[in-house]
Symmetry: C2
Subunit: 389 residues, 2 copies
């Protein structure tokens, strides 16, 4: 039969900057970025969408942005504030609100939308930017640990539809990311800690040296040492970027090998009605798949214990009662749903050593139950010790 | 300052098939395509979205699809019908309707959405597919000349927002396109003719031999010769695919050099409240920029006349009273809007010969007025001749 074959490649490039006090008028980083963009020749509007949780913790933010742009650029900022957290992704009216602002302020493919906030607000704004005019230029300023070291430097966006996570979304790289460590000082402890589990995840499957560093600095990180966090974010962002560039950036294949510890984490988030933060669930998921890898004889006892105790030193609780939910609704159900979602063949990342992830295509229910039991026991033990003290 | 640079390329590939009677059970093309996709191993739902104008003209279509899939594949078709024409792109409820179907029928990234219809329905369905689950696999079955030779084989989709054309949309290549020439038999004359101007456009800027063929076959095409149309669509689709692959597929730069004759066409469509079909406006736009190129001395009189008379033989009327709309609202206004949209620098395609497009960065208002006057005169002449007869 007659046919024509089409093939082409599209190249994407962007920079992730690390800085402090991005909108301090003495910090020229943001201004220089625009100076280097040809588009700066014209005075253009630029739309900022701010996370309400961030403006609350940083009440002078909006004023600083306005002052900074007036002093250093030809842009007029238009500011919009949206609720932070998962709420940002659950309300379709917020997508509409951003698209409406794009329309009203005349933001076209030569202008910019800048999102300042946690992963949720970045996901929302990235989505609205990606669908407006077939993609307007989009800058991310992540303000949480998770978004600075993982989600905010990547290529995905999305919102929920009827409470289904990321049901609507696209793959759309930003034109730049600015990580300002100053923002992290106002995070609450759970959000600070949560983002660290993505670093543990990526270290375990890719970089033993980074894991050693995490082990050594777990105490400092738990006590909110900023220098340690700066290093962690830089390393983790770099590994994440490498993973994207070296793999399948738009996930057109079917495996998702960076998601170590995530198959159970996703189900746990759901089972706990999202009372567990993503990172808290991931810490448990990592512990579970670490114990599973040990049962296979791939990890020795020393390494297994190093991983579990690093997670505990970071402050994570590695057991949750929902781990013992009934098989028909619990984790094992989650595993079969995930298999189905992948089109019948499972791909799960396990460890054959610290820093060495390996893919497997099935998991044994009995071994999963055994890993859960071990987590429960050591949790009971911890509580018993605490009670004895 | 500290930074990380991210660069990667994403490869896209798809096939455009040419056939007749795609859903005749004896035609194995469609079934073979699925057999070659790994995903066929599982019985999956597959969502068909049908253009109501097409199902009206082809009342047995839905039944044929169901019969065909039952006989040749493991897929269960879910059918949805939506209004055809621009109405498909003006109603936000239709995007919602398709997303809802994706959700209800459990269409995931391993399943397919198939759009059957004109360019409008393809744009709508392509958009809904692109935003669902960050992009589900999407197959196009274009049913008009325009969509078979141009829009349907390309990488863009979109819907209107507050009646602004393609305000929402993405770049998202299909996984396959099936051009079935049988569909074209039921088009009305204006739709049949309209799509031909994209072929004239691409021939004039890229392929003199193809223009010679169009000139020779203009009469046959005007009289709805199917073999001539099959050849036209194949050639034009091929040139369009080459243009995309060789250029800037996702239009991340700023020039849009394939759009010969389009700067004025877009404005004319708007000025006539879309009573002119896109292709009818493009025919006028081509005539205008041809005369402009002649005034610059780039085209000789013979070639200019060959172009104009080919368009007339095809049945296009090359004058519309709105060409003489007041400068402040008319074509010249459109030009300055377009300049602004491009960020200050205009890029317009003109001709320095048949088959040889060339980009310029400004146009002279006086010469544009002169080209309009010439079109008007020859139109009056045509009518005078008709009246004399
Ligand atoms: N796109 C991706 O690739 C990707 C990857 C992983 C996770 N995610 C998404 O990221 C989201 C989670 O993001 P998150 O962990 O950054 O949390 P978040 O965005 O949900 O924010 C949590 C809370 O912190 C507040 N906040 C944000 N920055 C603050 C600051 N500097 N000071 C004080 N408060 C602040 C917010 O207002 C919110 O109330 C989820 O929706 C998840 O699906 C996306
Ligand atoms: N995505 C792109 O790259 C791109 C490029 C150019 C144009 N477009 C868009 O394409 C649209 C125009 O598409 P079009 O010219 O194909 O027209 P159309 O889709 O608007 O259809 C015109 C009419 O023909 C009917 N119809 C369709 N197929 C038929 C058939 N086989 N028999 C009888 N009736 C049939 C439709 O129901 C409709 O009433 C515009 O919205 C334009 O913006 C998109
Ligand atoms: Zn994660
Ligand atoms: Zn066109």
């Amino acid at each position: 039969m007659d046919h024509l074959k089409q093939t082409f490649a599209v190249r994407f490039t962007y920079t992730v900057f690390f800085t402090e006090q991005l909108f301090d008028t003495k910090n020229l980083l943001f201004a220089d970025f625009f100076r280097q963009q040809a588009a700066d020749k014209l005075a253009k509007p630029i739309l900022f969408v701010l996370d309400a949780g961030v403006t609350e913790a940083h009440p002078k933010l909006a004023a600083s942005i306005t002052t900074y742009l007036a002093k250093h650029t030809a842009f007029t900022p238009e500011l919009l504030t949206v609720p932070g957290g998962e709420a940002a992704k659950n309300d379709p009216a917020l997508v509409e609100k951003i698209v409406d602002a794009v329309d009203r302020f005349g933001i076209d493919r030569h202008a910019y939308v800048v999102a300042v906030g946690g992963g949720s607000v970045l996901d929302l704004v990235g989505y609205a930017a990606a669908i407006s005019h077939r993609g307007i230029r989009h800058i991310r300023i992540p303000t949480t640990v998770l978004s600075q070291n993982d989600s905010g430097v990547g290529v995905k966006n999305g919102v929920n539809y009827r409470h289904k996570k990321n049901f609507l979304g696209t793959f759309a790289p930003p034109v730049a990311v600015f990580n300002d460590s100053q923002f992290l000082t106002t995070l609450d402890d759970r959000d600070w800690r949560s983002g660290i589990s993505e670093a543990v995840k990526v270290a375990l499957i890719k970089d033993a040296t980074f894991f050693n560093w995490l082990e050594t600095n777990a105490q400092a990180l738990a006590h909110r040492d900023r220098a340690a966090m700066d290093y962690l974010i830089h390393q983790c962002a770099q590994l994440h970027l490498q993973h994207i560039a070296g793999g399948d950036p738009f996930e057109m294949g079917s495996s998702r090998p960076l998601d170590f510890g995530h198959w159970s984490a996703h189900k746990l988030e759901q089972l706990t009605n999202f009372s567990l933060r993503h990172g808290e669930a991931v810490a448990i998921g990592i512990a579970l798949d670490t114990l599973y890898s040990q049962q296979l004889g791939w990890l020795d006892e020393t390494d297994t214990n190093r991983i579990l105790s690093t997670l505990r030193t970071l402050g994570f609780n590695l057991y949750h009662p929902m781990l013992d939910a009934d098989d028909s609704a619990g984790l094992l159900k989650g595993l079969s749903e995930f298999r189905e979602h992948l089109g019948g063949q499972l791909t799960i990342m396990l460890l054959e050593g610290i820093g060495r992830g390996v893919e497997v295509h099935d998991m044994d229910n009995e071994r999963i139950r055994q890993s859960i039991a071990t987590l429960k026991e050591s949790n009971d033990l911890t509580y018993n010790v605490l009670e004895t003290l």
